[in-house]
C-alpha cells in the first residue's frame, strides 16, 4: 500500500512536470521568436510563434487529460503567454511595419503588450466558469502574427487599426464560450 502510494505520487509528479515542461517549451519558443525578430529573421519569428501556439494548445490539453492542472502550471502558462503571444507578436509587427511610424508605432506596440498583460492578470484571478472574458491573448497574438503575412499587400496604416482593435478586444468585457 505504501509503495503503491509512493509510486502513484512519483508518476503524478512526472505527469505534472510534462505539462510544465511543455509550457517552458512554449516560453522558450516565444523567447527565440523575439531574438529572431531582433536579428531581422521575421519569417522564422512568425513560424516560432505558431509552433508556440501549438505547444500552448497541447500543455493545457495534457494538463486537463491527466487531471494535473496546478496553480503553478496556470501561473507559468500566463508568463509564457505574455512572452509568446504578447511581446513576440507585438515586436514582429513593430519590426515588420510599425517602426516606420516612429513614436505612434512604439505606442501601439506597447499598448498591445499592456492590454495582453491586463487580460492575463484578470484571467488569473477569475474562477473557471466555462467562458473567456475578452479575446484570449493566444488568439490576439496569433491573429496579429497572421496579419503579418499580408504586410506586402495591405495598406500600412491598417496595422495600427489591427493592433489597437486586438488590444481593446483583449480587455473588453464580452464573454465567449471556451472550446
Amino acid at each position: 500500500m505504501f509503495f503503491q502510494n509512493v509510486l502513484d505520487q512519483t508518476i503524478k509528479r512526472i505527469k505534472a512536470q510534462t505539462a510544465n515542461v511543455l509550457t517552458l517549451v512554449n516560453l522558450s519558443l516565444g523567447g527565440f521568436a523575439i531574438i529572431e525578430c531582433i536579428k531581422g529573421n521575421l519569417s522564422l519569428s512568425l513560424l516560432l510563434i505558431f509552433i508556440a501556439a501549438l505547444a500552448d494548445r497541447f500543455d493545457g490539453m495534457i494538463a486537463r487529460k491527466l487531471s494535473i492542472e496546478s496553480e503553478l502550471g496556470k501561473q507559468l502558462d500566463s508568463m509564457s503567454d505574455i512572452i509568446s503571444f504578447g511581446v513576440a507578436p507585438a515586436l514582429l509587427i513593430y519590426q515588420g511595419i510599425l517602426f516606420e511610424y516612429g513614436a505612434p508605432g512604439s505606442f501601439f506596440t506597447i499598448f498591445f503588450i499592456g492590454c495582453g498583460a491586463f487580460r492575463l492578470a484578470r484571467f488569473n484571478i477569475t474562477e473557471n466558469n466555462g467562458y473567456f472574458t475578452g479575446l484570449p491573448i493566444t488568439a490576439a497574438g496569433c491573429l496579429a502574427t497572421l496579419s503579418f503575412l499580408g504586410i506586402s499587400y495591405l495598406p500600412p496604416q491598417i496595422y495600427m487599426a489591427i493592433m489597437i482593435s486586438l488590444s481593446f478586444l483583449m480587455v473588453s468585457p464580452f464573454r465567449i464560450r471556451k472550446v
Copy 2:
C-alpha cells in the same frame, strides 16, 4: 451614512487604481526599453529599465501604505516584472554582447527569461511570509542591467557567467528577508 459609504468606496477605488496605474507605467517603461533595445539605443534602454525599477519600488510601497494590496495588482505586477526585469535586461545584454556568441548567446538570454518567469510563477502561489525565496527578478534584472555598464571593460565571456548565475539565483531555494 449611505453617502459616506459611497464616498469611501470611490476614494478606495481611485487609490487602488493609483498603484495599478504605476504598475502599468512600469510595464510601459519595460516595453519602451525593449523597443529602444531593438533600435540599438542601448543606453536609453538601460535608463528606462532603471526608471521602471523605481516605479516598481513605488507601486508596492503605495499599495502597502494605502492598504490597497489586491490580487489583480499582484498579478499585474508580476506581468510588468517579467517584461521590465526579465525580457528587457536579457535583450539589453543580448544586444550588447551575447549576440556575438550565436546560439549559446541566444540560449543564455532565453534561459534568464525562463528562470525569471518560473520565479514569478512560484512567487504568485506562495503566501507572504516576510521572506523572498530565491533572488527576486527585480534584483536580477537590475544587476544584469548594471553589468551592461562594464561591457567595454570586462572580458565578454563573463557575461555568459553573469547571466547563468543570475538565472540560477532566481530559481534557487535560498531565502532572504524582505526589506
